[in-house]
């Protein structure tokens, strides 16, 4: 009886050492080591963290630290040499409204981020044309009745200047029209989370947000009669989406390249990335 017990423990120990042995054998086989610093977009942060976790399991000698302070800080930190990868919601190697291009940086596509114009659930309107959106966000249309709703003032909620979501919404949904910047029915919020709260709790409010943040308590607007959905983004009928980028100084190399390759790999794109409600790059090939 007692000997059997001891033998069982012995077996367990052997099994354990075998598993760990094989794990260490795997890690010994990968020669990658080094340190990667990622900074930038908060929209891409969940994706980066997830990828970093998985990548570290495969390459235990690689250390990855990721933080987010807003899209523009990504390419900024890369230029300053603080970060190896600058996560950014727009292609920072080209000019966008308000931001000059960052010379010498390469944009590596990592994900597709769809956006939606959202309104408080009390709003009767459910579809807006591009021209109507332009009018609302530039402050020319101020009452819901002008776009077919009830007689109520439109409350516009905007993200602060420099937000990647704001840049993308301005380019893709408003075709570059300027936002209004003041008015008694206008306010700015700091993050996607604040936007969500503001839209959910403010009657007659309209704003915009990453599609993944849209909840049942708000109304995602159809734009030009196309509903914002993953399927419509993929089949090309819904235009308000953007690529998320990893900016690097020159072409990525070494461990940074390995990490970006991992994020772009089919395994990650169709697995974890999709689970986080981003759209895989490969889905956009036919768009």
């Amino acid at each position: 009886m007692k000997t059997k017990w001891i033998r069982n423990i012995g077996l367990a120990v052997m099994a354990l050492s075998l598993t760990f042995g094989s794990v260490s054998a795997v890690s010994a086989s990968s020669k990658l080591s080094g340190r990667i610093v990622v900074n930038g977009s908060s929209a891409l942060l969940p994706l980066t963290l997830q990828a970093a976790n998985e990548f570290k399991k495969l390459n235990p000698k690689v250390r990855i630290s990721a933080s987010a302070a807003g899209s523009v800080t990504g390419p900024q930190s890369v230029r300053k040499g603080i970060a190896d990868i600058g996560a950014c919601d727009w292609d920072a190697s080209t000019d966008v409204p308000g931001f000059k291009k960052f010379d010498g940086q390469v944009a590596n596509k990592v994900a597709v981020i769809p956006f939606a114009a959202v309104a408080n659930s009390n709003v009767g309107v459910s579809s807006l044309s591009t021209a109507q959106l332009q009018g609302i966000f530039s402050g020319k249309i101020t009452n819901w009745k002008e776009v077919g709703g009830s007689d109520a003032d439109i409350v516009v909620v905007n993200r602060a200047f420099g937000s990647g979501t704001r840049v993308n919404f301005q380019v893709k949904a408003l075709n570059g029209t300027d936002f209004m910047t003041k008015g008694s029915n206008y306010k700015e919020v700091k993050s996607s989370g604040d936007m969500k709260t503001a839209i959910e709790t403010t009657p007659n409010a309209i704003g915009y947000i990453d599609l993944v943040y849209v909840t049942a308590k708000m109304k995602a607007m159809k734009i030009n009669n196309v509903a914002p959905s993953e399927a419509n983004v993929i089949n090309g009928s819904y235009k308000v989406w953007a690529y998320g980028y990893y900016m690097t100084k020159g072409q990525p190399s070494g461990v940074v390249k390995a990490f970006i390759d991992y994020v772009q790999s089919t395994k990650f794109q169709t697995g974890s990335l999709k689970k986080l409600k981003f759209i895989p790059l490969s889905a956009m090939k036919n768009a």
């Binding site: 800080t73 200047f161 937000s163 003041k182 008694s184 403010t202």
Partner: protein, 318 residues
């Protein structure tokens, strides 16, 4: 050991010194060792104090130095007097925020000071002891609640309430911010006022009652004037807390760079504007420098307040 040997005998000071010397080790006499310890301790203390001062001055210096770079491209007059804050078009007028900060602080004080003083009078003059011992810890606990909690309650409870009662579209603005700040500074001001009222000697009240005053007359004409400097101290401490508060304010003020000329108009103050924009600003830009300058202004304002507090404290409650 030594105590055991010498117990039961009385020493004069000189003898004690000699016996200490005699019983010490070979290299250092006990006296020398003690003075070495004392001196080291003193040096460490002084060094720590100097270190703190150094940190304060380097923060001031860094903020000021970076902030002053603003004026390479923006004229001082434009920065302080212009109301056009459109950084994307190179317009850096910070008057809106400076005005907003003062307006918000003033409005907060107008609401919170009378309330706090009434609470303090109630606490110190009219409450039975058992209620005092229950209320004071509650007020003390309120001070410790993180401001983000107040901000969140403001956003989810206060603003919808303001919207419903006033019929405005948004409810964001300096009134909402002032109410949130009032709730935040209320415990601070009322507890310190309470302490300073308690510190007023009993003989003042006795004399007042002896002259035939009512309780109301005693409180308004004798106790409150006697505690005046303590109350001033409380008010300024409360103001200092209100002026630097960011998290709660940013959630309810609306964050729009326009003049706070109405109670329900989304606006912006120094702190809220800095926290909204600093994350998305290019490092070496006038915009960044302008935000540093605004931070520097805030620092100066709170430093002035601390100096005033010290001066009032110096006079003391007598």
């Amino acid at each position: 050991m030594m105590e055991a040997q010498t117990s039961g005998r009385a020493y004069s000071g000189e003898e004690l010194g000699r016996s200490l010397e005699a019983s010490s080790g070979k290299i250092f006499s006990r006296k020398a060792r003690l003075s070495f310890y004392n001196r080291t301790f003193k040096i460490i203390c002084i060094a720590s104090a100097v270190f703190v001062c150094l940190i304060l001055f380097s923060i001031l210096f860094l903020m000021g130095r970076t902030g002053v770079l603003t004026f390479e491209t923006v004229s001082v007059k434009d920065f302080f007097l212009s109301t056009d804050w459109v950084p994307e078009n190179e317009q850096y007028g910070a008057f809106v925020f400076i005005f907003g900060t003062f307006a918000l602080t003033l409005l907060t004080m107008v609401i919170s000071v009378p309330l706090s003083v009434l609470i303090a009078v109630f606490l110190s003059e009219m409450t039975p002891t058992w209620l005092k011992t229950a209320l004071r810890p509650i007020l003390d606990l309120l001070v410790g609640i993180p401001s983000v909690v107040y901000g969140f309650l403001g956003l989810t409870v206060l603003i919808p309430m303001l919207r419903a009662t006033t019929g405005t579209n948004m409810g964001d603005g300096i009134l909402a911010a002032a109410i949130v700040l009032t709730i935040m500074v209320l415990p601070t001001i009322s507890r310190i006022t309470d302490d300073s009222i308690v510190a007023v000697p009993k003989k003042f009240r006795d004399a007042s009652y002896a002259l035939g005053s009512t309780r109301f007359q005693t409180i308004v004409r004798v106790v409150l004037p006697a505690a005046k400097s303590g109350i001033m101290y409380a008010v300024i401490l409360g103001m200092a807390r209100a002026i630097g508060e960011t998290m709660a304010v940013v959630m309810v003020i609306g964050n729009t760079p326009q003049l706070a000329d109405a109670l329900f108009k989304p606006t912006s103050v120094l702190t809220s504007n800095i926290v909204m924009q600093i994350a998305n600003v290019p490092f070496d830009s006038t915009w960044n420098y302008a935000l540093y300058m605004m931070g520097f202004i805030l620092l100066i304002i709170s430093l002035i307040m601390i100096v005033i507090v010290r001066m009032i404290q110096g006079r003391g409650v007598k």
